[in-house]
Symmetry: C2
Subunit: 548 residues, 2 copies
């Protein structure tokens, strides 16, 4: 090893050879290289990349003229529409931070987020005017409100001082955006849909957004000019970074305000959609759509799914209509999916059940991930790759948040020992694929044994009459905890005849298939409360159980 390293001398960074990584460059390149290619389609509106880029520049300039800049927060209560896509570029162009809010939150939570982030500007769609109005009423320091007035939506009312359209008129399309001073600069803020306590504000940075976007492209094989359908909410971890990824390949964003099976089928056909993302429940909805709405796609379509493991029936059903399912796993803290189930060519020859079993696992590192490990949460010793030993999932990656806004303690805890602690429990299979078994806080400890609620839920989903299922711990004097299942049965919406299924029949179904100590001791027939992102609110179910 050299004492005087000649490779460090006279070879410093300069303005030409070192540029902060930022996804803003993606839209600049798209507009330069493919100016006339459709950037965004929404109902009757189609705008090309040149038009979209110009709108972003105007918007950035207009916000800048109103004093918004580095370190300021711009929030949005918007559905999947072109304006929300534009905000993903315009807000970072002035160094401000975009906070796309979950439109299914309650007013109190929204008020909390507006205050906690010192929000300066809120963009609001009429569909959410009641919600926003309630939130603004309890806000300590209400932001400037700008209405996004979508003529295709009836209802609601404008709340703000001016409209998006009027704001654009204040801006100059010759605005010169500034790269962030540092690629570590914050770009967006995403509040976790925490099921307990106040939501935590997860801060993303320019570098991570750039790298996760390219990781999506490489991992999910987005070709140049990919056509992406917005079924996943753009407010959900910034749409898993697809606003940036699809723009980086100068693709086309097809936006839908509401998620309806017929519209999804139509859009895929009409625009030649190549990729979309959706939770398994959405895929279920597509498969259970009336036959006359359904269609077979003869061009390649890939759906990336997450939040829950896709059952074999969904994988098979989607393949039958020509859609390849890729299971992925991630958290708000990791810019969305950071692990995905890379398909191995030898799986092609497996029988469906076996193939689905492989494909339903969460998988392996996404390209951007530096390290993924399943390990003992105390010693950080990796568990054996035996598909049985459970440990916590740990990550190291440039695609991890800066931390939680104004919450140093939670940030420090999350990153303790130089690893991000996901709080998810998993096993690692001999082929290196991880399979999530539970949230650390959901796992059931019965007579000293860990029981994975996900394993029981997967089994319940295989019951022919069960539509949805969640398993929670029920306090038990003898065992400490025992599993309790909450299920809903298939009804006419799922094309099923109403049927009488008893608690005992379901318990027996389980006892025939898994170890008895893992079987639910109780089955409750009730609808499942869910977060806006489709996750079951197990804390509410547990409260329900407490009440009796």
């Amino acid at each position: 090893m050299k004492n005087n390293n000649p490779y460090n001398s006279g070879l410093e960074q300069n303005k030409a050879n070192f540029r902060p990584l930022t996804p803003i460059e993606f839209i600049q390149r798209a507009a330069e290289v493919y100016p006339h290619h459709p950037a965004v389609i929404y109902g009757d509106i189609t705008r090309n990349w040149e038009q979209t880029y110009r709108r972003c520049l105007k918007l950035a300039d207009a916000l800048s003229r109103r004093g918004i800049g580095v370190g300021d927060t711009v929030s949005a209560l918007l559905p999947n529409m072109p304006e929300l896509l534009e905000l993903h570029f315009a807000v970072p162009m002035i160094g401000a931070v975009l906070n796309a809010q979950n439109t299914r939150m309650d007013a109190d939570t929204i008020a909390f987020m507006l205050d906690h982030s010192d929000c300066n500007v809120l963009f609001c769609d009429r569909e959410f005017s009641d919600l926003a109005s309630n939130a603004l009423n309890s806000c300590a320091k209400p932001p400037l409100v700008i209405d996004v007035d979508d003529p295709t939506f009836n209802g609601g009312r404008p709340l703000g001082e001016l409209s998006y359209q009027q704001l654009l008129l204040e801006g100059d399309e010759n605005y010169v955006w500034q790269a962030p001073a540092d690629e570590w600069q914050a770009i967006t803020l995403n509040y976790t849909s925490g099921t307990t306590g106040n939501p935590k504000g997860v801060v993303y940075h320019h570098r991570g957004a750039y790298l996760n976007a390219t990781s999506n492209i490489i991992g999910q094989n987005l070709p140049p000019q990919a056509v992406y359908l917005w079924t996943l909410p753009m407010f959900h971890c910034n749409g898993w970074c697809y606003p940036w990824a699809v723009t980086a390949v100068a693709g086309t964003h097809v936006c839908l305000r509401h998620l309806r099976a017929d519209q999804v089928y139509q859009a895929i056909n009409r625009y030649g959609v190549t990729h979309f993302c959706a939770a398994p429940v959405v895929l279920n909805m597509l498969l259970n759509a009336p036959e006359e709405q359904k269609t077979y796609f003869d061009h390649p379509v890939t759906v990336t799914t997450g939040g829950a493991a896709p059952p074999a029936s969904i994988i098979e059903g989607m393949e039958k209509i020509g859609i390849q399912v890729v299971h992925a796993y991630g958290l708000t803290e990791s810019y969305g999916p950071s692990v995905f189930c890379a398909f191995q060519s030898e799986w092609k020859d497996l029988k469906l059940e076996q193939k689905a079993e492989k494909m339903a696992r969460q998988g392996v590192k996404a390209p951007a991930l530096s390290a993924l490990m399943v390990a003992d949460p105390i010693s950080l010793q990796p568990v054996p790759m035996d598909g049985i030993s459970m440990g916590e999932v740990f990550i190291q990656s440039n695609t991890l948040m800066k931390g939680y806004l104004k919450n140093t303690q939670a940030t420090t805890e999350a990153f303790q020992d130089g690893w991000f602690h996901t709080g998810d429990l998993a096993v690692r299979h001999p082929d290196g694929y991880i399979e999530i078994k539970d949230r650390a806080k959901d796992v059931i400890i019965s007579g000293g044994e860990n029981i994975s609620t996900i394993e029981i839920e997967d089994l319940l989903y295989r019951h022919p009459d069960i539509f949805e299922a969640a398993v929670i711990a029920k306090p038990d004097e003898h065992w400490g905890e025992v599993p309790c299942a909450v299920v809903t049965l298939k009804g006419p919406e799922q094309g099923a005849d109403p049927k009488i299924v008893t608690e005992q029949q379901i318990i027996n179904f389980c006892r025939d298939r898994i170890a008895h100590f893992k079987c639910p001791k109780q089955v409750i027939f009730a609808p499942l409360p869910k977060t806006s992102t489709g996750k079951v609110r197990k804390n509410q179910l547990r409260a329900l159980l407490q009440k009796g």
Copy 2:
């Protein structure tokens, strides 16, 4: 704008969320995710990713045990073989710098490079033992020599203390590679094949190698498990970063020691090659191969070409056998191609001549490029996008070298004013595509007018009897300079009957087609001296002209 930016507080980088970008992670992931997938194919040898990764770890450990580390230089005189691919990962794993040398250089130049880079270790293939031996004899401080003993090659002799195989035995496959302390750390050294003076040592860094690899993947649409054929020398700008790009998609590297048309055709067919890179002369060779060697490919194959504009006949010929041609442009200083001719869908409907005219341009920014400009070299004012106004090509990008090793002056000049000065002259077309017209030092100034030598060469290539052509400036008392053409005619190798073509016929051919002041005033029939990368040595031609 906030005085106290809350997004900068308690949100610092840590070991979990900030990792230096390095292409070493690509091979680690390939080995983890696709351990059994073929990584490299060379003759009868096929090794999968797990095997290849282990060999890299052993090699890294063995070099490390011999005291090689951060800031040291490891050189190679190797053809496109698995060992050279492995060096692209093993050498950076210990923080050292790989200098893959051009095997077509002369011994003096190689000796210069070994001394200039303080080379510690030289890996040498028997094919180049005479060359290496001569170089080592005139070396001030000869490095440790390690023979790569390829049983498929007959001839030459071992020169070194030990063989690659023996070295591997000294290493442990459980070696834990260290990420670079800083992503700006040097990763490779590539000497420019300068036509005058000593070659300059271009230093690449980990960050740039990572980003140019992902840029290749996105720009050239490398799918997961792409199959890449090594026709471009791996020593040429580190094979345009494809050793890293193909590994990042866990693809397969198909290596060929010698470039022979029959082997290229066979490899594409046999292994389902999806991508390769080659200069237009190589494509010419493929098209001029005997009919019985040629074949039509019914799977998608893309060739990226550069160094010279591909003539319409080559674009058409390649398409006829099922290969899509993409023209690219770059320099050693820019990690290879940083500009490429992105295909616009509306070109599909153009007639061949028009389509080829579009496709033969150098094009637009590659995904990793931050800025590309054609501007006045003094004022840095961009030229109008009219396809006529000539200016110098300037670049800003993370995929630009750190600088020239031990040459601060050249580094400073290259990066003056915050832009990399390419020394290439181009026009920019109304659609934003650039078209290189000349090297700044080759352009002919005749009666105050700039004449692009490339424009005249393109025309000469359209002459049915001309095989190769180069145009240089000839001093002229009246005009200052006038164009002089040096040409070779097609012979039996090109399937042509020998023909008598006169100087005057060629001049007339030009006068019928372009402005008379641009036409060659003299035509010399002579072979064209070329650099190892296929570029015509115009300085030698100019010397020839001086002499006679």
